[in-house]
C-alpha cells in the first residue's frame, strides 16, 4: 500500500488520533476560517464501480514532461547564514582568549589570557538566538616592572546571550563572575577575592564551526597590595579588549 497514506495510517494506528492532513479533518485555522475541503479523500466505499475513463497505462505519455526554467542553475545551494549554524539545539564550544586590560594609578596594564568550555543552548533557531553558559579559566599578568604589579588567576562562570546573524556575524552580551586569587607584588601569598566582567563579543564565523571574535569587556579587577600599614584591597574597573577564538562542535 502506498506509504504516503500508509504513513498517516500507520502513525494514526500507533498514536491513536487522526493524523490526516488538516483539510482532511475539517481543519480550522486559528482565526476560525476553514481551509478548503479535502479533495483527496481516500475511498471508503466498496460497492462503487470504477469509472476511470482512462487506465493509467493508456494515459501515460511516452516521453517525460520536463519542468525547469533553468534560472536555478546560477544559484548555488550554499546559504552562509544558515550553513554556518551548527545543527542541533545544544552545541559544545571551546574558547581561547587573549586580552589587554587598561591600567590606572594603582594597577598596571595587564595581559589577560583565558580559555574554557561552554555550551550553547539554541533558544530561537530561526534567529539563532542562543544562550552560552561556560567556564573561563585564566589570569592577568602585568606588563614590565612596576610598583603596581599585580597578577591573578581566576575561574569565572560566563553567561552570554547571542545571535548568529547577517551571514557571518555573531553578537553576544553577558557577564562573568567568579573567584580570583590575587597576587600582589609585595605579598607573599594570594588573597581570594571575587572578580567579574560585563562582556560583549562581536565575531565573524568564517568556517561555521570556527569563530573569531573581538571581546570587549568592562572588567572588575580585584586588587590586593601590601603596604607598610598592612594589606590594601582595591576594586578597579578596567576596560578589556581581547581576541577570541571559539570552536563549536
Amino acid at each position: 500500500m502506498l506509504v504516503i497514506l500508509g504513513w498517516s495510517t500507520v502513525a494514526q494506528a500507533q498514536t491513536g488520533h487522526d493524523l490526516a492532513s488538516p483539510w482532511q479533518r475539517g481543519h480550522r485555522t486559528p482565526s476560525g476560517a476553514a481551509p478548503s475541503r479535502p479533495r483527496t479523500d481516500p475511498a471508503t466505499s466498496a460497492e462503487v464501480q470504477d469509472l476511470r475513463a482512462l487506465s493509467s497505462a493508456e494515459a501515460a505519455s511516452a516521453a517525460p514532461r520536463v519542468y525547469g526554467d533553468g534560472d536555478g542553475d546560477s544559484l548555488g545551494w550554499d546559504d552562509p547564514e544558515r550553513d554556518l549554524q551548527p545543527m542541533g539545539m545544544v552545541h559544545f564550544v571551546l574558547m581561547a582568549q587573549v586580552g589587554y586590560l587598561a591600567g590606572n594609578d594603582e594597577f598596571a596594564e595587564a595581559i589577560a589570557v583565558s580559555g574554557g568550555p561552554a555550551l550553547d543552548f539554541c533558544l530561537w533557531p530561526t534567529l539563532s538566538l542562543h544562550l552560552r553558559v561556560g567556564l573561563r579559566v585564566g589570569g592577568h599578568g602585568p606588563f614590565g616592572v612596576s610598583s603596581r604589579r599585580l597578577s591573578d588567576g581566576y575561574i569565572r562562570g560566563t553567561l552570554l546571550i547571542g545571535v548568529h546573524a547577517v551571514q557571518l556575524v555573531s553578537v553576544r552580551v553577558g557577564a562573568e563572575l567568579g573567584p580570583e586569587i590575587v597576587f600582589a607584588s609585595e605579598s607573599s601569598s594570594g588573597n581570594l577575592m571575587a572578580g567579574g566582567a560585563a562582556v560583549a563579543q562581536l565575531g565573524i564565523r568564517p568556517g561555521g564551526h570556527f569563530e573569531l571574535a573581538l571581546d570587549l569587556a568592562i572588567d572588575v579587577r580585584p586588587g590586593d597590595e601590601l603596604t607598610p600599614l598592612g594589606s590594601r584591597q582595591y576594586t578597579y574597573v578596567a576596560p578589556r579588549v581581547g581576541a577570541m577564538l571559539a570552536v563549536t562542535f
Binding site: Q14, W23, S36, Q49, S56, R82, L129
Partner: protein, 250 residues
C-alpha cells in the same frame, strides 16, 4: 560606583540593541532567492523575488504564521519514521507549504513524505498508481463533508485525465490529474480537478536536520493543486510555473 553601574547599563543596552538589530535577519524559510523547507532538499524560487512571494498575491499561505511555520496540532503530523536506526516517533510539519487562493478557494500544497525503507526504490509510476487507487478506491470516493455537527455523504466519481512521467527540477517525478465530480442519478458532473506530482528528491529524510545524501529515510515530495473545474485552467499555469521554479537539491 553609580558611574560604574551607569556605564555598565549603557554598554549592556547598546549591545542588546546591536544584537536585536542583527538578529532580525529574516525568515529561515523565505530566503533571499527562494522558499526553502526545513530540510532544504529543494527550493521554490520566487515568482516575485522582490516580494519574496512563492505564489501570486492572490494566494494565502496558511501553514505559516508570519515567517514561522505553524507548529500547532492541526499542522503537525506525528509519525514513526525509520531514518536508519529503527523507527522513531517524530512530530513534523504536515506541509512544507499550503496555500489557498483567495478568490476561488483553490488549494496548492507541497508536502514532504518520509517513506518506509522498503519503498526506497519503488518505481514512481507504481507509487503513483497506488496513490491513485488509494485516492479513488474503486474510482468513486465517498466524500464526507463535515459541516458543524452534521455530515453528509456524496458519491464522487474520479477519472484520470492526465498521467505522465516527468522531470521536475532535475529529479524524477510522476504527474497525474484527476477529474472528480458528483455522481448524480443520470450523470457525473465534474466539479474538481486535482493535479498531483510525486517527486523523488535526491536526498533522504532527516527529521532533525538537513536532508542527507546517505543517512535518513527515503522520501517523496508531493505537490498538488486542486481547483473547481471552471477555475482549473486558470490555476494550472500557476502550478506549472511553480514546477518550473522548483530546484531539487543535488
Amino acid at each position: 560606583m553609580r558611574s560604574l553601574a551607569r556605564r555598565f547599563a549603557l554598554a549592556t543596552l547598546a549591545c542588546i540593541a546591536i544584537a536585536c538589530v542583527a538578529g532580525c535577519n529574516g525568515s529561515a524559510y523565505f530566503r533571499p532567492h527562494a522558499f526553502v523547507p526545513p530540510m532544504r532538499h529543494y527550493r521554490l524560487r520566487y515568482a516575485e523575488p522582490s516580494a519574496r512571494a512563492v505564489l501570486g498575491p492572490d494566494w494565502n499561505i496558511l501553514n505559516f504564521r508570519g515567517e514561522e511555520i505553524r507548529q500547532t496540532p492541526d499542522w503537525v503530523t506525528h509519525a514513526r519514521i525509520d531514518e536508519g536506526a529503527g523507527p522513531r516517533a517524530r512530530a513534523i510539519p504536515t506541509f512544507d507549504l499550503f496555500a489557498e487562493h483567495a478568490h476561488d478557494g483553490s488549494v496548492l500544497f507541497v508536502m514532504t513524505v518520509p517513506l518506509a525503507p522498503t519503498m526506497a526504490r519503488r518505481d514512481l509510476r507504481i507509487v503513483a498508481h497506488e496513490f491513485i487507487d488509494e485516492l479513488t478506491g474503486s474510482a468513486i470516493a465517498v466524500v464526507r463533508r463535515v459541516r458543524g455537527d452534521s455530515s453528509e455523504e456524496r458519491l464522487v466519481a474520479s477519472r484520470v485525465i492526465e498521467d505522465t512521467e516527468a522531470v521536475v527540477g532535475g529529479a524524477d517525478a510522476y504527474l497525474f490529474t484527476l477529474s472528480r465530480g458528483v455522481v448524480g442519478s443520470a450523470s457525473v458532473t465534474s466539479s474538481h480537478l486535482s493535479t498531483f506530482v510525486l517527486l523523488r528528491p535526491h536526498r533522504r529524510f532527516r527529521g532533525g536536520g538537513l536532508a542527507d545524501l546517505e543517512d535518513g529515510a527515503p522520501m517523496l515530495l508531493l505537490i498538488a493543486l486542486d481547483a473547481v473545474a471552471e477555475r482549473y485552467d486558470a490555476r494550472r499555469p500557476e502550478l506549472d510555473a511553480l514546477l518550473d521554479r522548483l530546484d531539487v537539491r543535488p
